[in-house]
Symmetry: C2
Subunit: 356 residues, 2 copies
């Protein structure tokens, strides 16, 4: 497929998912306004929070579905929308856990309600707690509606159960990963590289990559071997994606990624990079600076150099390439049709393009 067609396809999928989510939010807002204006505002805020994304997970669902011969775009768009709502629920609650009031450069649900409260004259700590409280509620709404969205795909009993099982696995994994992440960020001991990779797989890769492609393949009625091969692709490319994301969070080009390269260092985020470095002599230098909330650009430069000197950067890049190549091998499975490779090779390439 030539690049122009790929763009057209991506836009078609995105607009199909957007249409499903528009209908969902319209109905919810109309029900909410029957309860009262405050509830309507909450739903409007939740809708704005779920808009503006790249609809990445729905695209994975629909890509797998179509590559494996599925033709009921509406059904696939509903399953995709379910993953999008799950994503919304998880990031809204993740922001509560991280006490973040900003997401993608704008205020998130917690931020909107913190600001409402401050405007009403409530002092900062109470206003922040009010923001986080409402975000707990908003995330709950997105979460249970994600499960319900699968029901609306209009599939038979057995298929619905299989999709729910995949969705359940994704949520089960994500909660486990979030728990480990809370442990890593709040406890003192340093996790191993394997523990970090496992946490990132559970927290993000399963629900963002593995489960969406698996659900798409199952919905298309693909044979078991094709489903497994695609799930294996998703799992590995998901891990590679997270490893690269962590690298970009320290060594990226801020202008290109739009992502600060000092935030993760100030936060002391436990990544594969950091876990590897913690067993090297350079750690003495790195640990002096890592996690300082007011780390300067110059100090961050010192940390970056030490991470390169001790081989952590090279190690993490190699690890990302290793997972990407496992993803590639899974995609080469004879159980998968060529269409699956046409669909997902660009995903592997885009992950690898982001490594130095």
């Amino acid at each position: 497929m030539d690049p122009y067609d790929l763009v057209v396809e991506a836009q078609r999928r995105q607009s199909q998912v957007d249409a499903v989510l528009d209908r969902f939010f319209s109905l919810a807002k109309s029900r909410a306004s029957a309860v009262g204006p405050r509830y309507l505002t909450l739903w409007q805020t939740l809708e704005r929070n779920s808009a503006g994304g790249k609809r990445f997970r729905p695209t994975m669902v629909m890509g797998a579905y179509e590559a494996l011969g599925g033709t009921d775009h509406e059904a696939a768009a509903h399953v995709g929308a379910a993953f999008e709502l799950l994503h919304t629920a998880l990031i809204v609650h993740d922001d509560v856990i991280d006490r973040d009031f900003i997401r993608r450069g704008g205020v998130n649900v917690s931020g909107v309600y913190r600001d409402f409260a401050q405007t009403a004259g409530i002092p900062v700590p109470a206003a922040e707690h009010r923001g986080l409280s409402v975000a707990v509620i908003a995330g709950d709404l997105a979460l249970f509606n994600a499960f319900r969205m699968i029901d609306k795909a209009g599939v038979g009993d057995e298929m619905r159960t299989r999709l729910h099982d995949i969705f359940d696995e994704a949520m089960f994994a994500s909660a486990a990963g979030e728990l480990l992440d809370v442990d890593f960020s709040q406890l003192k001991s340093m996790p191993t590289v394997d523990e970090v990779v496992d946490m990132e797989r559970l927290k993000t890769a399963v629900y963002s990559f593995e489960a969406p492609v698996e659900a798409g393949a199952v919905l298309a009625g693909a044979p078991e071997e094709a489903v497994s091969a695609l799930a294996m692709f998703g799992r590995n490319i998901g891990i590679a994606y997270q490893l690269v994301d962590d690298l970009l969070g320290v060594f990226g080009d801020e202008a290109a990624t739009g992502k600060t390269t000092i935030g993760d260092l100030r936060e002391g985020k436990r990544t594969a990079l950091i876990a590897y470095a913690s067993a090297r002599p350079e750690w003495i230098e790195i640990s002096r600076w890592l996690g300082l909330p007011d780390l300067t650009r110059a100090q961050a430069g010192v940390v970056r150099t030490a991470l390169e000197d001790c081989g952590a950067r090279q190690y993490a890049e190699d690890l990302a390439r290793e997972y990407a190549s496992r993803a590639s091998a899974a995609l080469d499975s004879p159980a998968l049709p060529e269409a699956a490779r046409v669909e997902f090779r660009p995903v592997i390439d885009s992950v690898l393009d982001r490594v130095r």
Copy 2:
């Protein structure tokens, strides 16, 4: 039915629901231990949090189901267990919102994880945040599994959709009520009595009374008029229950209810009692004391006397009786069999017994 038989029936229902929940938690714990010991601990903590309750909502489901002729106790126990998990999710998240670390005299999920963190040497504010963070995750697990529990009732497609719709309404209402409650407790303006009643209906009465009896009746295949009559009973007795609960929170016998009568006054909780009093001349006196975190027993006595003098106590008691009598009228509907009255009159009586 004689009182002894009622007790036997109640125990049978409770043990059927407990068996469903035991199986659910056993399976979840076995899946969690495959992920790691920390995840197993979270599931064990969640299970302990959901145990020890009176299984009130499941009993409402099963009572309605059996009174309306249902005979598949397993199916009803699953729907009951779904409401119990929903209840667990809602109280775990409600405790996050209220920053409570104690529930029913023991530590809740937030409390367990706060204590773990403190034992690990983490200072109080961070340890508390860790407790609340893990409780956000735990509530999410209970919430999505509540929806899935309906699927396990083994009913047909159409019935499942109807049950999910009722469940959806309950969760939709509860989120709205929680939002209003957050507003009432954190904003300065005083809600009206109607607004308080509406909040309590949405937050608690729908998912604890109305939706459980409705689901039980639907599952039994009862005719539409019987379902509506029972739902109307549930809605009204649920509101009456909350009004009485608020009265007991101020005027109750601590030895009998096991509930402090000073906590709500110290918190400044917005109840029908308080909303009524706020428009009376005695409010000047009441508002001096209400919401003081260190309110003394003597000052609380002054507030109670003023609440009686201004007629707020009488008003709230009359209002509770009014809703109980609406519940009674709904139960007298010719659309309902005598068995429904035998089942639910004691619920009305127990609510009224708690009013002076």
